[in-house]
């Protein structure tokens, strides 16, 4: 509690009327509202400085990740990575592999078990897909050598690595039935051989009257946005398959199973790594076949790059707007590679006052990696939002911030209607976007620095630019969770729960939530991973909504646990232990620790039970528990059973009104300099502003905002999986050729957290982990336009692409 990280607030700025008090800042929490139903202050949540509960394990290297798991007699499994983009296995000769000393089992795709045929495909559909054969051996290197000894006869097939090629009438069929979203292929609107979906997207097809919207407009513009395949996961993966039990890299439970060898830590997978379902099923099969524990290990090129983000594709926009800045119609024609999980129109339709929208959505199977949500569904939508307002503002010579505020709202309704909805449903009448914008503009000195496109050249000859974008702040409780709180006899509280600690510091945060809900000190709360020893498989949100869901579960369990502690405090017991157990029960005086008081007269704070009317009348929780539970023999009085409570959250159960619009907003500001000779774009300053509803752990919130910003640098300027069009091979599936940001790729970042308590989660929280990085791509594009007067919209915005946009390449 003594050491506050640099840049962290030393106190909560509760009643901050002046929004920005202290500039420059690295992190500030702004909360200007007191809801009468919410306590004036919290004991634990929102306060910085709590020692990270898993900090020592992670810093020392003792934290166990799936790849670090081991057991006696454990075997290692490796699968073949397809060398072709599209091919069929004709035959496999594994005799040499089976004869290799140390090889224990070889599983082949011609196995009679249909599950094996599903898991170990004989028809890989992209370069690197696990397929054909798996070798189980005493060591990873022997398994790898065994794979090399397998002689496989292939039939190479034509391939298509772009959606355009895939949808040609004579294109080869590349339908991937192993994809988790394969069901979309059943949609009757599919009209091409590889089309996964075509037509007007069902949820956001036509809203309003798109033609009327264009007729109403004073101006109409059209533009294209495209993005290359990308990935932002830690490219390391392994699953330990304890006999018949399956675990995963994302959460330690897979469906009905739970893992008996528990690991607390997960790689920063950000969702995409779980997309390849067969990999998770391979281990149990191998464990069953060998009768041994099997660690299935994927190579970096297999794992890290076969689960890519789902925003690879092209968007064509047609936008109508009035000269005052009111946008009247947005039409999107989009074409995705693989199975796009995003539309690009959803946020425009959902979180603005734009009344007329149409999304013509089409996606196509290609011979590319499995694609799925990778740190959120926000990205293409966010990108679409940002470029939309940037483009229209440029046409009208307006500040994009002002244009955004004009068009804020929900589902075609303006911001006044949004305020009314908030009022009608018990929420504060706060304009979340306005607050985000006010904070960000102040941090960036936006009004003084804003200039016309291409109008400001720096002394070093580079061009100066500002960029902005906004969106809703990820707000969902779409996942389920269970939490168990168990108060030990020494007054220590154990949380037993699954969690999704991918880096958001879920463990510390959950301990803080439990401390808040029970009145115990943070230092008295511990968390341990759940496993099947606990009777049944606990569930937790997989990451996206883990905070919102787990906050509800812990709050609920804590509120059930706390009265039990207070009832124990007033239960009548012998004050002194009766060690010999021989006293006449009639001679034993039974008394309460708080004579004459009911449990409702008591409260708990900082692990001390006290009389509300007389706080000096107190006893620690440890003393209460010791008094009632630890007398060795001859205990008299009311027996106190284990003090224990469950809490659960069913998706959407708490805090989510039907048809509730998303109320929380976020904004991202960047300041760049562009070298028009080299195409290099350097970020000079950035500010992420998130209405997070309520900050639980400031360090975690700050980390997600700033960490997301830095990941966003990769998304905006670096992440790009390159395919060889001639062979369909992926050319940069390693960390030498696929670029991630480093320590020297960022500088000067601010973060502001707005607290409106309007989120779905307990205490009004929303998740923040998926936000900042999702916003980051688009403001960079807007800033490049502001710097040069040229739009570069072919992401990632590498120097080469910027030069191409500038007409210099």
């Amino acid at each position: 509690m003594s050491m506050v990280p640099e840049g962290m607030p030393t106190e909560h700025n509760w009643e901050t009327e002046d929004k920005i008090l202290d500039i420059p800042l690295r992190f500030m929490v702004i909360n200007r509202r007191r809801d009468p139903d919410i306590p004036e202050s919290y004991n634990v949540i929102g306060k910085p400085g709590y020692r990270r509960t898993d900090g020592w394990d992670k810093a020392s290297g003792k934290a166990k990740y799936p790849r670090d798991m081991s057991s006696h007699g454990m075997l290692y499994a490796r699968t073949l990575a397809s060398p072709y983009a599209n091919a069929i296995v004709k035959s496999i000769d594994s005799s040499a592999a089976e004869a290799l000393p140390g090889v224990r089992y070889v599983l082949k795709c011609d196995d009679s078990d249909f599950m094996v045929q599903y898991v170990l495909t004989a028809h890989p559909l992209f370069d690197g897909e696990p397929c054909a054969v798996a070798v189980v051996a005493d060591s990873e290197e022997i398994a790898e050598e065994g794979l090399r000894l397998c002689k496989i006869e292939w039939e190479e097939l034509p391939f298509a690595v772009t959606a355009e090629e895939s949808l040609k009438p004579d294109a080869p069929s590349v339908l991937n039935t192993r994809h988790p979203y394969r069901d979309r292929s059943q949609d009757p609107t599919v009209n091409e051989i590889n089309g996964t979906f075509a037509g007007s997207y069902c949820e956001f097809g036509e809203i309003g009257d798109i033609e009327a919207g264009f007729q109403e407009a004073d101006q109409i513009i059209e533009y294209d946005i495209s993005r290359e395949e990308n990935i932002a996961s830690c490219p390391s993966r392994a699953n330990l398959q304890v006999w018949g039990i399956e675990g995963s890299s994302q959460t330690p439970n897979g469906g009905p199973f739970s893992i008996s060898e528990s690991y607390q830590s997960f790689y920063g997978g950000f969702g995409a790594m779980i997309q390849h379902v067969p990999f998770g099923l391979l281990g149990p099969i191998l464990a069953q076949r060998t009768g041994r524990d099997v660690l299935t290990v994927a190579t970096a090129s297999q794992d890290g790059f076969y689960a890519c983000a789902d925003d690879c594709g092209n968007q064509h926009f047609k936008v109508g707007f009035k000269n005052d800045g009111t946008i009247t119609a947005v039409q999107l024609d989009t074409l995705y590679n693989g199975t796009g999980f995003q539309t690009g129109i959803a946020h425009i339709a959902g979180f603005t006052s734009i009344k007329n929208t149409l999304c013509n959505y089409k996606s196509a199977w290609t011979n590319r990696s499995i694609m799925g949500p990778n740190r959120s569904e926000l990205r293409f939508n966010t990108q679409a939002m940002a470029i939309l307002f940037g483009k229209v503002a440029a046409e009208l010579d307006m500040d994009p911030v002002e244009l955004s505020l004009m068009n804020n709202g929900y589902e075609g309704h303006d911001v006044q209607a949004l305020m009314q909805w908030q009022k009608d449903h018990g929420h504060p009448e706060r304009d979340s976007l306005q607050e985000c914008v006010d904070a960000g503009k102040a941090v960036m000195d936006w009004d003084n620095k804003w200039h016309a496109p291409g109008a400001k050249q720096l002394e070093n000859g580079k061009m100066h630019g500002l960029g902005f974008c906004w969106d809703h702040n990820w707000s969902s409780i779409h996942e389920n969770s269970n939490v168990s709180l168990f108060l030990q006899v020494n007054g220590k509280l154990n949380i037993t729960a699954h969690h999704a600690e991918h880096g958001c510091d879920a463990l510390t945060t959950m301990c803080m939530l439990a401390a808040e809900a029970t009145g115990l000190k943070y230092e008295d709360v511990y968390i341990r991973p759940a496993h099947n020893y606990d009777g049944f498989a606990l569930r937790s949100g997989g990451g996206s909504a883990s905070m919102s869901t787990n906050a509800w579960s812990i709050q609920r369990a804590g509120r059930e646990l706390k009265p039990q502690i207070l009832k124990a405090a007033v239960a009548e017991h012998a004050l002194e232990p009766t060690y010999d157990g021989m006293q006449n029960p009639e001679e034993v005086v039974l008394t309460s620790a708080f004579p004459g008081l009911e449990w409702t007269d008591l409260d708990i704070k900082d692990s001390v039970v006290f009389e509300k009317a007389n706080p000096d009348n107190s006893m620690t929780v440890a003393e209460v528990m010791g008094r009632t539970s630890t007398q060795p023999t001859g205990m008299y009085g009311e027996a106190i059973g284990p003090i224990h409570a469950w809490g659960c959250n069913t998706s959407g159960m708490y805090g989510a009104e039907h048809d509730r619009p998303t109320l929380n907003r976020q904004a991202m500001f960047v300041e760049v300099e562009v070298d028009t000779e080299t195409g290099m774009v350097e970020l000079l300053h950035g500010c992420a502003v998130n209405d997070v509803g309520r900050v639980i752990r400031p360090e975690g919130c700050y980390g997600q905002q700033v960490g997301g910003y830095i990941m966003g640098i990769g998304r905006s300027q670096m992440y790009e999986v390159i395919y060889d069009q001639a062979t369909g091979a992926r050319l940069n599936t390693n960390l030498l050729d696929y670029k991630y940001p480093t320590m020297n790729d960022f500088t000067n970042i601010d973060a502001v957290a707005i607290e409106t308590e309007m989120g779905f989660g307990a205490y009004g929280v929303v998740g923040v982990g998926e936000n900042a990085c999702d916003l980051m791509s688009a403001p960079v594009a807007n800033a490049i336009y502001n710097a040069t007067g040229v739009w570069a919209l072919d992401f990632p915005l590498t120097p080469a692409k910027v030069l191409k946009a500038l007409g210099k390449a």
Binding site: E6, H72, P235
Partner: protein
């Protein structure tokens, strides 16, 4: 097993016989392997119907012993030295060298027998290694030092497997163990065990997210502080630039290292 049970199992094998069997099996799998002690104590026997499965991963051998329906898995207790020519096993390097000289005609220095002596986190280790073993896998898989992570899969591209080798930070996936004879190696576990302030500084500055890359950062940062007790922000960024964090947690490393430097300076 009780004395009564022993009497009822006259065909049981002695612990000595059990070990002999195990040694033969192990000797046939890999050099530098270790043998296992039976679960039973001295003088005890196990049932005659014993099936054994030996899992060899080079220097580490695990043996699963199935006695009837009971499965026992034994732990590593003893390092063996194996002749590279005839696979005979010896309990010490000196015995192996004597054997080599007598049977194969000529002196065999330790290095010729693929024997390396290492000091790992302050503890000495001597044993045979395979020439192709890299230091990362050796430390992680065979020494159990799981703080030696692997993100890039052996490309030398991520820094997660960083260790301090004779005072310098190295990518252990790029180093062969057999090159390390006589080396002093320090991993994140050793740094933590030595109570170095970099650990606490990383915790209190929240300089981690998912944490997989964190031990590599800690190692590199500690090596920086060893050679430069008063680093600037630029020094820290330059030193840590080779360590990748995907989440990322970069924003917190500079304050963490500065805090550790301050603590060291004040000590």
């Amino acid at each position: 097993m009780t004395e009564k049970e022993k009497d009822n199992n006259p065909g049981g094998v002695s612990r000595r016989e059990f070990l002999k069997d195990a040694g033969l099996l192990v000797g046939g799998t890999a050099i530098g392997s270790t043998v296992l002690l039976a679960a039973c104590g001295d003088g005890e026997t196990v049932t005659e119907k014993v099936t054994t499965t030996v899992t060899s991963t080079g220097a580490t051998t695990t043996k699963t012993v199935e006695v009837g329906e009971v499965t026992k898995t034994e732990t590593i207790t003893q390092q063996k030295f194996v002749c590279p020519i005839d696979s005979m096993e010896f309990d010490s390097l000196a015995e192996l060298q004597a054997h080599f000289e007598a049977e194969h005609g000529g002196e065999a220095p330790a290095t010729a027998l693929n024997v390396v002596k290492l000091t790992i986190n302050g503890y000495e280790w001597e044993g045979q290694v395979e020439p192709q073993w890299n230091l990362k896998d050796f430390l992680h898989d065979r020494m159990g030092l799981i703080g030696v992570k692997s993100m890039c899969g052996g490309y030398g591209a991520c820094g997660s497997c960083s260790v301090i080798l004779d005072g310098k930070p190295v990518l252990s996936c790029m180093v062969l163990v057999i090159e390390c004879n006589g080396a002093v190696i320090e991993t994140s576990e050793g740094i933590a065990a030595s109570q170095h302030p970099i650990i606490d500084a990383y915790i209190m500055n929240n300089a981690m997210q998912c944490g997989y890359c964190t031990p590599g950062f800690v190692v590199t940062a500690k090596a920086l502080l060893d050679r430069n007790p008063n680093p600037t922000e630029a020094d820290i960024r330059e030193a840590l630039e080779g360590n990748l964090c995907i989440c990322p947690s970069y924003y917190a490393h500079v304050p963490a290292v500065l805090a550790a430097a301050e603590t060291l300076g004040g000590a």
